[in-house]
């Protein structure tokens, strides 16, 4: 492999990682934009998504990488995996909001954030106690189709990840920009009180934000499994911290910003892992987060949600 090929390969890897981080970052950004809250539960909602997707695929009789599907069965299984993971995670998100966070709305200070840390812990430990801490073999029914671009390798799973991530992001953008509820969301992000007075049901908007964010985390969990062929109880932390960095990098509360930030973080991870070493990836990503917060706290594309005080 020449160095150009190597770089191209890392770009391919980085875009796949970026697709994942973008989806996960959207969850942080949606919830932050509406509720001004860093949702620490998001880390492990994503992990639960990966587990649920795995169990769903296993429910179809898929084990490890042995079973290869094509045609309609493949599409059907994948769709089912995504649908179940998204619905379960979306449901968890709504549950968290409705049961635990709504009573805390309007309470000043870190109460809501501490609650989400608690939820994150509960999710983590429930999975740990029921499924164990070992790395699980995530079923992957994709046929091993591979394209060679120069010396770099592009696999079907990467193309699939890009397509699905793009479709989800396009859907979300359409929803936020053009639907009634999406407009209500944007209005609430700007000024909840004014939105409420204009007849926006703020409760419903907040719940929608949690549902969408968590559902995207579920989809991200499925993508993670397909990409790495594994699911593990502790995958939430590292991925979550990177996705959060992506959200901040793009400008928290900013939907296109989160997508861009995710891709940038994915590329940085892939290239720095190649050149500096994967042991330091967390340090590099995190250093970037601190740097962005100091130099340009509004992020690359600016925050859309004004600073409410």
């Amino acid at each position: 492999m020449t160095s150009t090929d190597l770089l191209l390969q890392q770009v391919i890897n980085g875009l796949s990682l970026g697709a994942m981080y973008s989806l996960l970052a959207l969850g942080f950004t949606l919830v932050y934009g509406i509720a001004e809250l860093i949702n620490f539960a998001h880390f492990n909602v994503f992990m639960v998504g990966a587990m649920v997707a795995m169990l769903t695929l296993q429910g179809f009789g898929l084990v490890g990488q042995e079973t290869i599907l094509t045609g309609l069965p493949l599409v059907g299984t994948l769709l089912a995996g995504f649908a179940v993971a998204m619905l379960v995670c979306g449901g968890i998100g709504v549950g968290i909001e409705r049961v635990l966070l709504r009573p805390l709305r309007g309470v000043k200070g870190p109460a809501a954030m501490i609650t989400t840390i608690g939820v994150s812990y509960v999710l983590f430990n429930v999975v740990l106690l029921t499924l164990g801490s070992d790395a699980k073999n995530f079923p992957n029914p994709l046929p091993p189709i591979v394209w060679h671009i120069g010396g770099a390798v592009l696999r079907l799973r990467e193309v699939l990840i890009w397509v699905i991530a793009l479709a989800l992001m396009a859907g979300l953008t359409y929803f936020v920009q053009y639907t009634r509820l999406g407009k209500a969301m944007r209005a609430t992000a700007q000024d909840p009180e004014a939105a409420r007075m204009m007849g926006v049901e703020v409760d419903r908007v907040v719940m929608t934000a949690f549902f969408l964010g968590s559902a995207l985390a579920g989809a991200c969990g499925m993508i993670f499994g397909l990409y790495y062929n594994l699911a593990k109880v502790d995958i939430g932390f590292a991925a979550g911290l990177r996705a959060f960095t992506a959200a901040v990098l793009g400008g928290i509360g900013n939907v296109p910003g989160a997508m861009l930030g995710g891709v940038v973080i994915g590329l940085i991870e892939a290239v720095s892992g190649q050149t500096i070493g994967t042991a330091w990836t967390d340090v590099i990503i995190f250093g970037l987060l601190v740097l962005v917060l100091i130099v340009r706290p509004a992020g690359l594309m600016g925050r859309l949600a004004p600073n409410k005080s």
């Binding site: 001004e36 809250l37 860093i38 635990l100 009573p103 805390l104 309470v107 000043k108 200070g109 870190p110 109460a111 809501a112 954030m113 501490i114 609650t115 840390i117 608690g118 939820v119 994150s120 812990y121 509960v122 999710l123 983590f124 430990n125 429930v126 106690l129 932390f237 911290l241 959060f244 901040v248 042991a279 330091w280 967390d282 340090v283 995190f286 987060l289 601190v290 917060l293 100091i294 706290p297 600073n307 005080s309």
Partner: protein
């Protein structure tokens, strides 16, 4: 029978004052803790208690950062790790540079020794435990400042995630820097502390006493700091950073101080912990430790010194005693009823699940913890509630020093403020003579509050100058403006909601006091005199409002009436002994009687020589008080003059009422 006996025994106790009873309880507790290892000689239990003590010290440190200063630090274990590795590296055989004569002075001091393992002579670090404790505090505090500095401008929630990242990075660095830290395997062969030539070895009892000493020291430090100028500044920042800044608190300095002191506590604990275990691995300091400490602080009560100690002890009890015990019971029960599920259960593995549940449960049902930091003051008694309100002017004005004539002239020239494309203030000139009262009026959105914000440094000016007693105010931070003698109130009342009336007003005094952390801890004579004098003058200020506030000084301000909160805010501003007072709609939301009362009170302040700049909508108040009225509209000064001139000014009438109404009024005047 039993209750009668109890009553008989407790009667002498009840006759003591509250302080006496507290002191007695503290004495009994200390005695029990000191005697515990002698009476109960079980090494495993003593070891477990010693561990609980080290977690209590960590929780006390985190409490300074999270509870006092309100900075949610999720990576606190990083400082624990720094202290631990500091001691570990300088007492183990991990780092051994080549010996040269340059090391000889250190060897003389006993910090290093020459060693030969077959090969060239090497240096073996032999840092004493007792020297390591204070130096680790300093080293960790320095790291605390370094980690804290980049995060200070961030809002609380970003701070949480940045500290989370720092907490994650420190173990990663420890894992990757094999040469210094021995990587994932961890440091081994760490020296046990020695005292008078005897090594502590592996016996738990000496560690227990050191741990006990550390907890006692940190409780003492925390309590002293909490009840000082420093503690008030921290709590003010926690409650409302902008208001704290406007009242003279330098948020950067005090946040860094909180980080440094919290880190110092953790660094000392790290030394203790590692000396006790004689090993240090990266896993000992991961996110789980930070979050367990957070659970301890949340459970006990954020900001509550005894609360977090209780929280730490309870959690440690839960892990080492309660959960294994219940597991045993469940197993017995399982065998009895023949349930394999119950026999297989191990609740100790559920510990972290319980942590999560505790966090959620506390936030939902008891946010202030088991032992809340602020306990509600007793409600007013009937007499105090129904006492005749003394009103009209200030009382006891004689106790307050008068202002010198000539103080307090404020000269605003050509000040412009822009927000994006919007011009909020356009080249404004206002002159406030010393001892005068100038009122600023104008329709909503005309830039009145922006004017106050630019004077007090909350909003930067685009151009112009604001000179106060010969000093330029533009470019100064809010706390510097206050120090120069400019104090303000806010249109939408910004008190520190969870502090008492007295504490709120004492924060206003902050800039006029000098005591730092050291003086506050040591209660130096200077510090004691200063605090006593401050409290007296603050009580005098509060007494100016008659019996409106004085009976309520111990109450939390969020429970006060609207008008009383306004009064507290004015008292807080006056506590800084300003030369000019900026009042932003002080009578907004008050009924006519209260408005009249407050107007008279402002008038008496003016009568004592205080210069006043006031924003007010109620024209009768403006007419009674002001010598000069300035009218703003859309960021432009459209009129200035005596109150009666302004009432007839055409432009003013247009701005307020529109053209048609102005014409009607002019017509009516002409006819009259």
């Amino acid at each position: 029978m039993v209750s009668a006996a109890l009553a008989y025994v407790s009667r002498p106790l009840l006759s003591l004052t509250l302080e006496r009873r507290r002191a007695l309880g503290l004495f009994a507790l200390s005695l029990a803790l000191l005697l515990f290892p002698l009476v109960y000689d079980d090494d495993a239990t003593i070891d477990s208690v010693a561990n609980a003590l080290s977690y209590a010290t960590l929780a006390l440190g985190l409490n300074v950062v999270v509870g006092f200063a309100g900075l949610l630090d999720l990576g606190y274990a990083a400082f624990f790790a720094i202290g631990a590795y500091y001691y570990g590296i300088f007492t183990s055989f991990q780092v051994m540079p080549a010996w040269s004569e340059a090391w000889a002075p250190l060897a003389f001091l006993g910090l290093v020794e020459k060693m030969n393992q077959g090969g060239p002579d090497l240096v073996h670090f032999t840092l004493s435990f007792w020297l390591a404790l204070p130096t680790a505090a300093i080293v960790s505090a320095a790291f605390g400042v370094c980690f804290g500095a980049p995060t200070l401008r961030l809002r609380g929630d970003y701070l949480a995630i940045v500290t989370l990242g720092f907490g994650e990075i420190v173990p990663i660095v420890a894992r990757n820097m094999d040469g210094v830290t021995n990587g994932a395997a961890g440091l081994n062969g760490i020296q046990a502390p020695r005292l008078f030539g005897h090594s502590f070895g592996v016996d738990s009892t000496p560690y227990y006493y050191v741990g006990l000493g550390l907890v006692a020291l940190l409780i003492f430090l925390s309590s002293r700091l909490r009840d000082s100028r420093v503690g008030r500044a921290w709590m003010a920042i926690r409650e409302d950073e902008t208001a704290a800044n406007a009242m003279g608190v330098n948020p950067v300095r005090f946040k860094l101080l909180a980080f440094a002191i919290g880190a110092a506590f953790a660094g000392m604990t790290g030394v203790f912990f590692v000396a006790k275990l004689q090993t240090a691995t990266p896993e000992m300091f991961n996110f789980n430790v930070s979050s367990m400490l957070l659970v301890m602080v949340v459970l006990g009560g954020m900001g509550s010194v005894w609360g977090v100690v209780v929280g730490a002890v309870l959690l440690q009890l839960m892990q080492t005693w309660f959960l294994p015990q219940v597991t045993g019971w469940l197993h017995d029960l399982g065998e009895l009823v023949g349930s394999q599920f119950l026999v297989g259960i191990d609740l100790v593995q559920w510990t972290q699940l319980f942590f999560g549940i505790i966090l959620i449960g506390m936030m939902l049902y008891r946010r202030n913890g088991l032992i809340p930091a602020t306990r509600k003051a007793p409600p007013l008694n009937f007499a105090a509630q129904h006492a005749e309100v003394t009103r009209g002017g200030f009382l006891h004005l004689d106790r307050i020093p008068r202002w010198e004539p000539g103080e307090g002239a404020l000269d605003i020239r050509g000040v412009s403020v822009r927000f994006g494309g919007l011009v909020a203030l356009d080249s404004i000139d206002i002159n406030v003579p010393a001892g005068g009262v100038v009122a600023v009026i104008g329709p909503n959105g005309s830039g009145k509050s922006t004017l106050f914000n630019v004077i007090t440094g909350l909003v930067p000016a685009h151009s112009g100058s604001i000179v106060f007693r010969g000093h330029e105010l533009l470019g100064l931070a809010p706390h510097e403006v206050l120090t120069r003698g400019v104090a303000r109130t806010f249109q939408n009342i910004r008190l520190f909601p969870n502090l008492t009336v007295l504490e709120n007003v004492m924060v206003g005094r902050h800039a006029r006091l000098r005591s730092g952390a050291v003086a506050s801890v040591l209660h130096t004579p200077g510090n004691r005199t200063e605090e006593r004098a401050a409290e007296t003058s603050v009580l005098d200020l509060i007494a100016m409002f008659g019996n409106r506030l004085t009976p309520r000084i111990g109450q939390v301000v969020s429970g006060l009436s609207y008008a009383n909160r306004r009064r507290v805010e004015i008292a807080r501003a006056l506590a800084s002994r300003p030369q000019i007072l900026l009042l932003d709609e002080p009578t907004a939301g008050m009924n006519p009687a209260e408005t009249l009362e407050l107007a008279e009170q402002i008038k008496s302040l003016h009568g004592m020589g205080l210069t006043i700049l006031i924003i007010e909508h109620k024209l009768d108040v403006v007419t009674t008080l002001a010598d000069t009225v300035v009218v703003l509209d859309h960021g432009v000064k459209i009129a200035e003059g005596r109150p009666e001139e302004i009432r007839r000014n055409e432009q003013v009438l247009t701005a307020y009422l529109g053209r048609a109404a102005r014409a009607a009024i002019m017509e009516a005047d002409r006819v009259a």
